[in-house]
Amino acid sequence: MPDGEPAVEVDGLSKRFGDVEAVRGIEFSVRPGEVFGFLGPNGAGKSTTINMLCTLLRPSGGRALVAGHDVVRERDAVRRNIGLVFQDTTLDGYLSGEQNLRFHAELYGVPRQAVGERMRQVLEMVGLWDRRGDLVQNYSGGMKRRLEIARGLLHSPRVLFLDEPTVGLDPQTRASIWDYIRQLKDAEEITIFMTTHYMDEAEFCERIAIMDSGTIVALDTPESLKAGIGEDRVRIQTSDDDAAIAALEERFGLAAVVSEGAVTFSVAAGEAFVPRLFAELGVPIRSVNVSRPSLDDVFMSFTGTTIRDAEAGAGDRNRLTMRAMRR
């Protein structure tokens, strides 16, 4: 893969299961070295897309290149260049962590003289070197996920696919997984393609694609997406809320409401607006808070629903229960 060639390039990719069109002709490309995120509720088509890119599902239409290779015609070439971490664990619990990695190394044909050193490296990176001899069935959920990340990296893939890498983990473990992902990006010159339905995690991606009902509804950096919404949220506390609301309406043409004990309104470039606010409002202000739109707002503006509401409809509760039982 020469420099500059996209790590992932997708053109008109679609997948249909019977009558259901899970992915409807999507199009995007991922730069080498980028951390690219797919954000969307369960059932949006994220996993279907990732499975097609990983050669596990045959597309119904369109084309996809991963590391410069066609996912249908050059399946093995794609497989050699990608690492995978799935939503559900794919480890053998009856083997030790080290044995799981060794199995992977042999299956991927990692040169024998490099296996030992490489194994130590990836295990140290995820902090499992000391536990390498333990049976995986005795690992915690977070340790298993870290081991899978280490395994996905073992053969130095060009692109690492992470399908919901932190789902079902406690916040502390989630944070540490993200530490590894960031560290990894610095260390391995690797492209990371991940799916998530956690808004706060999508913030860590350099660019995100928002997916809903099988289509990409928006694709940009998290900052631009939020800037695209335009307005910041400003909350002020005043000595006279009614007067403040009237003044906002009269002097700035802004519609404000009292919400949670503060006068709240939306305005473009909120920080730059604050000096004017103090100068011209004419009502004493005790405190001011300006917040940028969150990805939740972005998701809402593109899909007309919050991600949590979108999920309530999808049947992922069963899956989560299954996962809990398995552990």
């Binding site: 499975n51 990983c54 050669t55 596990l56 599902l57 045959r58 093995d76 070439a77 497989r79 050699r80 260049n81 995978l84 799935f86 559900d88 664990t89 794919t90 480890l91 053998d92 619990g93 009856y94 083997l95 044995q99 060794r102 199995f103 992977h104 042999e106 299956l107 991927y108 044909g109 990692v110 040169p111 490099a114 050193e117 490489r118 490296q121 140290e124 990176m125 995820v126 902090g127 499992l128 070197w129 000391d130 536990r131 073992l154 053969h155 130095s156 540490s176 530490d179 590894y180 560290q183 610095d186 260390a187 391995e188 398995r326």
Partner: protein, 300 residues
């Protein structure tokens, strides 16, 4: 958390400095052989770790050999039909075949288990041919089954079978061949089944008739026509018969008794030679393996 210190902010530069980038080679026979070997190796590792399975796999054959064999030989002695042949000796090859059969099926069933627990996916996305995974699984299953069978073979003395090194080697070889074919059968079934319960229900359904119709537990000589035809159609018959013929050739018996207890399989009066029986078993095994490979090529 011990061991995580290297991954903390202070240690971040360390992995960058000494990074080992590995190159995954182009696919080829060498890669496929490596894959066969590691899949096989995993079967052995798991078998070794699962001591309970080893013991439980022995219970049934030992029951047949020592309890049923002893109990029924009583019957034969009073009936007088046995004349000089211990029933335990007679069913010994059959019991060897049975123990191999159960273990082989269990090994094949681990594919379903792997699917249920996700590990199959790890194997299926690797850049190796699906056939190497299936072949590794079959050889691994056959080896594990043969190891289990070796324990039964070690009990030969209890069944009045002589500890002749050549005989023991022959038995082991034949068990391996039979186990290979049976694992192929199991893997073929496992290709499409997603639940352990369904797999074992199906196996139970296939194995009991196969066992009863194989001549593992009774002589093939002088059966009613319908039963005789069924036994000849049963592939397991051709795996059990060579083992029995090997055992009986080491016994000092009159030709009559030989004929009664180890008559061999006949096709329209023609005695099928041992080599042909073995070729048949190997052929069936290879055929089942081929079907299994085809099925795995088509699964995602």
């Amino acid at each position: 958390m011990p061991g995580s210190s290297a991954a903390g902010p202070g240690g971040r530069a360390a992995p960058v400095a000494g990074i080992v980038r590995v190159r995954v080679p182009e696919p080829g026979l060498r890669q496929d052989l490596r894959a066969v070997k590691i899949v096989l190796h995993r079967e052995l590792l798991r078998f070794w770790r699962d001591k309970l399975r080893m013991v439980s796999g022995l219970v049934q054959p030992v029951l047949w050999l020592l309890v049923m064999g002893t109990g029924l030989s009583n019957l034969m002695a009073t009936g007088g039909a046995g004349g000089g042949v211990d029933l335990r000796t007679f069913i010994f090859p059959g019991v060897c075949a049975m123990s191999v059969m159960f273990t082989a099926m269990f090994s094949a069933g681990s594919i379903v288990w792997d699917r249920e627990f996700g590990f199959l996916r790890e194997m299926l996305v690797a850049p190796v041919s699906r056939s190497s995974i299936v072949i590794g699984k079959c050889i691994g299953g056959a080896l594990v089954a043969t190891m289990q069978g070796a324990v039964i073979v070690a009990l030969a003395g209890l069944a009045g079978v002589p500890y002749d090194p050549v005989l023991l080697a022959q038995l082991m070889g034949m068990m391996f061949l039979g186990a290979f074919a049976l694992t192929g059968f199991g893997v073929m079934m496992a290709a499409r089944i997603t639940q352990m319960q369904s797999f074992f229900a199906l196996m139970q359904m296939a194995m009991l008739p196969m066992m009863f119709l194989s001549g593992a537990l009774y002589p093939l000589n002088g059966l009613p026509t319908w039963l005789s035809i069924l036994t000849k159609l049963n592939p397991l018959t051709y795996a059990v018969d060579p083992m029995r013929r090997a055992v009986f050739s080491r016994l000092d018996l009159s030709p009559e008794l030989q004929r009664t207890f180890s008559s061999g399989v006949t096709w329209n009066g023609w005695l099928v030679p041992v080599w042909l029986e073995l070729v048949l078993v190997a052929g069936i095994g290879a055929g089942l393996l081929g079907v299994a490979i085809l099925q795995f090529r088509h699964t995602d």
